[in-house]
């Protein structure tokens, strides 16, 4: 047992799956909170203020989340490089579509597209929040009129058609990534059971379609709400 466990191929895929499952859980709560902006704007403001100022979330969970995203990205790129090196000479004729899905073969492409989107997303929302809260020291969450600013800031971002199109396309890539990633994570941590795996696959497909669709709906809702 010479190798360190996390540095073997199986160890890495388990870590990749665990970070992916963690991001899946995060995404669900993110989606739920964002959906409040459509059905209950005041509650959305209050929850946003809570999430943005609660010390446990800001100083404990947020760094873990940032690490999770970073780890998933770096490990994904590292594994892709290793996997490409495992076949130095490619086939002259290859028909991968006969035995596997496009999504399962192109996780690196959909993953990088999602990560590029995240860079834009952080620039749009996360960096301004860090600036307001930690550089300017304004933890009130209020605008000049003394009202919570989260709802109007979000709506303002989605008033731009270009940004909305970018978000919609990005969530399509996220959906493609999740269509394989959700059920793949369970397989990687060793959970494959004749009785439960079909349910996990169905649940994964449902999650991969519904969650990105809700995000797309939110972006379109705020855009059309302002351009109606």
């Amino acid at each position: 047992m010479s190798n360190r466990k996390g540095t073997t191929s199986v160890g890495r895929k388990i870590l990749m799956a665990l970070s992916g499952l963690f991001l899946i859980v995060f995404l669900l709560q993110h989606c739920t909170i964002n959906f409040l902006s459509v059905v209950a704007p005041d509650t959305f403001n209050e929850v946003s203020q809570f999430m943005g100022t609660n010390p446990l979330i800001q100083y404990a969970l947020q760094p873990v989340l940032a690490f999770g995203v970073f780890f998933h990205l770096i490990m994904g790129i590292y594994l892709e490089r290793k996997n490409r090196n495992a076949r130095p000479i490619k086939y002259a004729m290859d028909k991968p579509a006969t035995n596997s899905s496009w999504m399962s073969r192109n996780m690196i492409i959909t993953g990088i597209m999602v990560m590029l989107f995240l860079a834009v997303h952080f620039y749009d929302f996360w960096l301004p929040e860090l600036n307001t809260k930690f550089l300017k020291g304004d933890m009130s969450g209020l605008n000049a009129a003394g009202e919570y600013r989260y709802m109007e800031e979000m709506a303002h971002k989605f008033s731009n058609a270009g940004r909305v199109i970018l978000y919609v396309l990005s969530f399509i890539f996220l959906s493609l990534h999740l269509l394989h990633g959700f059920q793949s994570a369970f397989q990687s941590v060793g959970f494959n059971h004749n009785k439960y795996t079909p349910t996990i696959k169905r649940l994964g497909n449902l999650y991969a379609i519904v969650v990105p669709a809700v995000f797309i709906f939110i972006a379109l809702f705020h855009y059309f709400n302002q351009h109606a």
Binding site: M1, S2, N3, K5, T8, S9, V10, G11, R12, K13, I14, L79, K82, N83, N85, A86, R87, P88, I89, K90, Y91, A92, M93, D94, K95, P96, T98, N99, S100, S101, S104, R105, M107, H180, Q183, S184, Q187, S188, V189, G190, F191, N192, H193, N194
Partner: protein, 249 residues
């Protein structure tokens, strides 16, 4: 039927190799793919050319020697078969057929379509066995009760013939279906549990040393496996590995 073949020719392990086109005529649809290659080689020998080197042994689907990637698929377009079980009726008159060796860094080409799969042997040697004294008083295997379902699953895993189609077809050249099957066939049986931790850790380490890629769960290996080895074996190996990792001394 008459066919156009594009075959990988490589003089030896050091040669760069290239695809070479051949025409082969009067092929019966009842022939196996290997018999078609026999006909081609006869034609080549008769015309004074070097025959195509390809691996074959039992020609009844159990030796796993015929490491051919045919028209973009391991063992060709049929399912659940090795190359000797692939019949020419799967092709049409006038078809162009690409024939390549299994490709992976861990499976270097020795000559033409022959690859070195001794990496699998070394993985087996690292832990794919149970230690039993064979001094003449070996215990009857049936003396230990084993649930029928476990025995069946272990037998299913043990049907892996180590042909390497899983590696050849995986976009990452991962050997996890092979190693998963070899780990599973012992993990499911009481005789295998004694060395289970060392087995999975050593076999995974050896697999990595050989230069195979990482599994990304595309499922291509399961589809192309001539023996229908299931992905559940990879999941079991992952469980065994995780369990061994957290409980080892």
């Amino acid at each position: 039927m008459n066919l156009k073949l594009k075959i990988w020719r490589q003089k030896d392990a050091e040669d760069k190799g290239k695809m070479v086109a051949y025409n082969v005529t009067d092929i019966s649809e009842h022939m196996s793919f290997l018999e078609m290659l026999d006909v081609l080689n006869e034609q080549l020998v008769n015309s004074g050319e070097e025959p195509v080197a390809f691996d074959h042994d039992c020609r009844e689907g159990i030796c796993g020697m015929c490491s051919l990637y045919i028209n973009g698929e391991a063992h060709g377009p049929d399912r659940g078969v090795t190359t000797c079980q692939l019949h020419m009726r799967m092709f049409n008159d006038g078809d162009t057929i690409f024939i390549e060796p299994f490709r992976a860094k861990a499976f270097p080409v020795i000559k033409d379509l022959v690859v070195d799969r001794s990496a699998f042997d070394r993985i087996q040697q690292s832990g794919g066995y149970i230690s039993v004294n064979t001094s003449g008083n070996t215990q009857d295997a049936n003396a230990i009760p084993i649930p029928k379902a476990d025995a069946d699953e272990a037998m299913d895993a043990a049907t892996c013939i180590g042909c390497g189609a899983c590696v050849a077809t995986c976009k990452n050249s991962s050997a996890m279906l092979f190693v998963g099957a070899k780990v599973s066939q012992y993990a499911l049986l009481p005789q295998g549990k004694v060395e289970a931790k060392d087995r999975v850790m050593n076999m995974v380490n050896q697999m990595d040393k050989e230069g195979f890629g990482n599994c990304t769960n595309t499922g291509a290996c399961e589809v192309e496996c001539p023996k229908g080895i299931s992905l559940t074996n990879i999941a079991r190996m992952n469980r065994e590995y995780f369990s061994a990792s957290v409980t080892e001394d």
